[in-house]
């Protein structure tokens, strides 16, 4: 399985990346970790005339805490983020999700931005971005812009990125007085999830839930928030939540499809179970943090 030929570029600045994208348009594809793209190329399921390696670009590197969010450069390796103290402290949901991505060998090359922008419906990082209402920094020939996670994921392998745009960084908001839960169910450890949930709750001054996110993956063509279920949580005391009902409500809003690994009805059932577990964990943690 050898891929079709392509040209390879390794620019060292974001402006060079943008120029190349402007020049080459949809014949070019940014290459970050390659863990998703290279197998597709090898199997000739996709092809591009040009690959633009963005891992040498400074603007796409770095993990920094600034102004209530943590900015993670798109080309930061998943393993780097997984072991980063800032991420662990300030974006625990991301820290908990990362070990579920494939295997450690994959995470040594895969990038936070690459996996997010690849937008596989069964993958973890888009759901995390959506849960936290992250903001995605995008650059292209028409300039730089910021896209909210809510608008970024548009379909299976489809995002708000234009063909000549590249994801530069992800800003994960820092939640306070918060608890998190991350669960997924896969046939084997490291496989694409059949269903999964990234869950976050934060408490208000009165100790009740002020904000909640139940962000599911494997349940539609994009990650999906169970908004009605989240609304039902707001105002509730964390110790008094009927977690099973919330889980049912969340899953009722999902739109999974059948595939070879699981039918839609199973994704919903498994998903509900995962929400129960993740939400329980998040509420308990929020309650402890708050105590």
């Amino acid at each position: 399985m050898k891929s079709a030929p392509f040209e390879y570029h390794a620019p060292s600045s974001l402006s060079d990346v943008v120029s190349l994208l402007a020049e080459l348009g949809d014949e070019a594809k940014p290459l970050a970790g390659g863990q998703s793209l290279i197998p597709l190329l090898a199997m000739r399921l996709t092809r591009f005339e040009h690959l633009i390696d963005v891992t040498g670009v400074a603007e796409l590197q770095g993990i920094e805490r600034v102004n209530g969010h943590v900015r993670v450069g798109a080309a930061v390796r998943q393993s780097t983020a997984e072991h980063d103290a800032t991420v662990a402290a300030a974006v625990p949901l991301l820290a908990r999700a990362l070990p579920h991505i494939g295997h450690f060998q994959i995470r040594n090359r895969g990038t936070v931005g690459g996996s997010t922008a690849h937008a596989d419906p069964s993958s973890e990082l888009p759901a995390v971005a959506l849960a936290l209402d992250a903001e995605l920094e995008v650059a292209g020939p028409s300039g730089a812009r910021v896209v909210g996670a809510e608008h970024f994921f548009q379909g299976t392998w489809m995002t708000a990125l234009e063909p000549d745009e590249v994801l530069v960084a992800i800003r994960y908001p820092i939640w306070s007085r918060a608890g998190y839960g991350f669960r997924e169910l896969a046939r084997r450890h490291g496989d694409f999830a059949i269903a999964g949930v990234a869950c976050a709750v934060s408490l208000g001054n009165n100790g009740n839930v002020e904000r909640a996110a139940i962000s599911m993956f494997g349940m539609g063509s994009t990650p999906l928030r169970g908004r009605a279920a989240e609304e039902a949580l707001v105002g509730e005391h964390p110790g008094k939540v009927d977690v099973d009902s919330i889980a049912e409500a969340a899953v009722a809003e999902m739109e999974p499809t059948d595939d070879i690994h699981a039918p839609a009805w199973y994704r919903k059932r498994a998903g509900a179970r995962l929400v129960t577990l993740a939400l329980t964990e998040a509420l308990e943690e929020a309650g402890r943090v708050d105590a």
Binding site: M1, Y8, L31, A42, M43, L51, G102, H189
Partner: protein, 158 residues
């Protein structure tokens, strides 16, 4: 074609490669290092695992051009020059951790990296750490035992 230079098993290598050539194919075909094996070419089985700048990666999922300037170590580079076995290899031999040997270099490299990161793993951590490498002959029994033994041997040496 791209000119590139990298270090492979401690030696400087210069070559001219097509961009589409994977690092795995470059090592096998251009460098003659056939110890790294291809069993799936889509990044699932781990037979092609090597170290790049000390980190375990699937060489079938890396382009040779992406390794420009990198420090690459293959199974040949991990093996003592005098033909003896290193600690991990010794543990595999002692614990019957291989049969046909096709997946073995990938396991040895992965386990080497794994124990570097986690010198005293629990059994759960061991099987999770091994779950990115497929074996069809051993049923993993001897491999798990080999990781335990190698971890103990390393601890004993320190």
């Amino acid at each position: 074609m791209h000119e590139l230079e990298m270090t492979v098993n401690g030696e400087s290598v210069r070559a001219s490669v097509e961009p589409r050539t994977t690092l795995a194919d470059f090592l096998r075909d251009d460098c003659g290092l056939t110890g790294t094996h291809l069993a799936c070419e889509h990044g699932v089985c781990g037979a092609c695992t090597i170290l790049v700048d000390g980190a375990a990666v699937r060489s079938c999922l890396m382009l040779a051009v992406q390794a420009r300037g990198a420090d690459v170590t293959t199974i040949e580079g991990l093996s003592p020059a005098d033909g003896s076995l290193n600690v991990v290899q010794e543990a595999f031999a002692a614990c019957h951790g291989l049969q046909c040997g096709f997946c073995t270099p990938g396991f040895v490299v992965s386990v080497t990296a794994f124990l570097d990161q986690n010198p005293s793993p629990t059994d759960d951590e061991i099987v999770e750490g091994l779950s990115g490498n497929l074996c069809r002959c051993t049923g993993y029994q001897g491999i798990v035992k080999a990781v335990r033994q190698a971890a103990q041997a390393n601890a004993g040496n320190n």
